[in-house]
Point group: C2
Chain length 299, copies 2
Amino acid sequence: MEVGVGDDAAVLRPTPGRRLVVTTDVLVEGRHFGSAFSEPEDWGWKAVAVNLSDLAAMGAAARWLLVALTVPDQASPTLLQRLYAGIGEACEAFAVTLVGGDTSGGPALSLAVTALGEADRAVTRAGARPGDRLVVSGPLGAAAAGLALLERDDQPARELLGRFPGLAAAHRRPRPELATGMRLAHAGATAMIDLSDGLAGDALHLAEASGVGIELHDAAVPLAPGVAEAAALLGRDPAELALGGGEDYLLAAALPPTADLGGVLDCGRFTAEPHRRVRLTPAGPRPLAGLAFDHFRTG
Amino acid sequence: MEVGVGDDAAVLRPTPGRRLVVTTDVLVEGRHFGSAFSEPEDWGWKAVAVNLSDLAAMGAAARWLLVALTVPDQASPTLLQRLYAGIGEACEAFAVTLVGGDTSGGPALSLAVTALGEADRAVTRAGARPGDRLVVSGPLGAAAAGLALLERDDQPARELLGRFPGLAAAHRRPRPELATGMRLAHAGATAMIDLSDGLAGDALHLAEASGVGIELHDAAVPLAPGVAEAAALLGRDPAELALGGGEDYLLAAALPPTADLGGVLDCGRFTAEPHRRVRLTPAGPRPLAGLAFDHFRTG
């Protein structure tokens, strides 16, 4: 960085020969976060994390960040400090530099973040081929289970949240899988997406963009620690939390059968029948749709 | 552009050897624009234009744009189309490519835009030297006069707006001075800023960032067509509209005395006395502060 925050614009020095990868996402209070279950520091963190997760999904290294905030006039004077504290923690955790910002008064709190990264080869959603494995970068369902337990907030729910601290953390402080995204890109991933809507919907996005079919194997879908226990308490199907629960911010990728990469989990395969995009359940094949996660809403 | 809107992120190919120049600004309905005096197409245009103006102020060429919107749930279905129509018109007018976007529901309409450009040499606010000329890229006061006449909205005001269509246009459809910014950078400008707060405040920003003094010559400040007439009708000092009226989105720059550049207008000079930052008025020197423009507010 040659010029940072404080001038009309920031001046950056891109790495020669690399592609620039850019994305923007806006988070609004009451839609994407709320004061009932998380703190302003968490909101700042999350606004950074979800944008970096989009870079991770391209196989990019994260480098720079810009933040445009609207803050209600009646907000407490410390709110902005606390938001920026969370933004700063995320920048430090993921080694990105905040290079620009703007703040305006407005009727509600919103955080619009733009993240810039670099990649030698960016992986889109559109390259999956028949025969490719569908892999995920970790076990699923923690964010959805965490939010559901926070909403329930009775004694058994609080006990589970205490036993499995990863559940609330997955909701409050998602961790973009930047290193894994780069490993997947280098290992030859043909398509990649981050899990913001749940694996069912996001795997469908990969198949649609690539023009191929997909079989998701329910029995192979890995559950994060505590998700089975949360599902039992909540009276819900664990697969629903894992496949339809959004906001895990892990990665799903298509990987050629010959690719050699540890640390990823197989849960299906891409096929040559674009009309056939299904979950294989114990009760037989079911269409891979209708499980999309509706982002947290208070309204 | 290798990958545009629709994937997790856009993939861009920066020009080898050039600096990347990035900026973000958020505009909120009722703060930066309002339905009384302009249309949704104007809001989209303006959100793009004010960001490109920041690139112009660095001497950069504009290349790419990302837009993060929040839109009220009760907004008419055509509002988004009309906003994007204005965004598209501005992108075409200034040859930038929209490469990313996100839209969320929210309690108010806001547009957070991030603009990316490139420059061989970026001009900051901080390089002005004693003896440099203070120049502006055009005559001032049109946007402030236009807004004041639109607010007044009586017969004489409407008549003036009809005689001088540049006044309302300056408020509704500011035009970032991208070509002039690059010419100023190539001519050796030592510091530069875009006029979003009025020349008085923005020239002060240049002097402060550069650690020098400044003399602004009131008599030399060029007035845009119709500003003198508007000031007479409004009972205001034309200099107040020209110096304190914000949002002209012209450029102010420090230019070494030896620089040879046509088409810019001299209105002062930078000096070696950092404690002396003044307007030279017919009544004598006055401090160069207290004229900052308060952005349009409805609330």
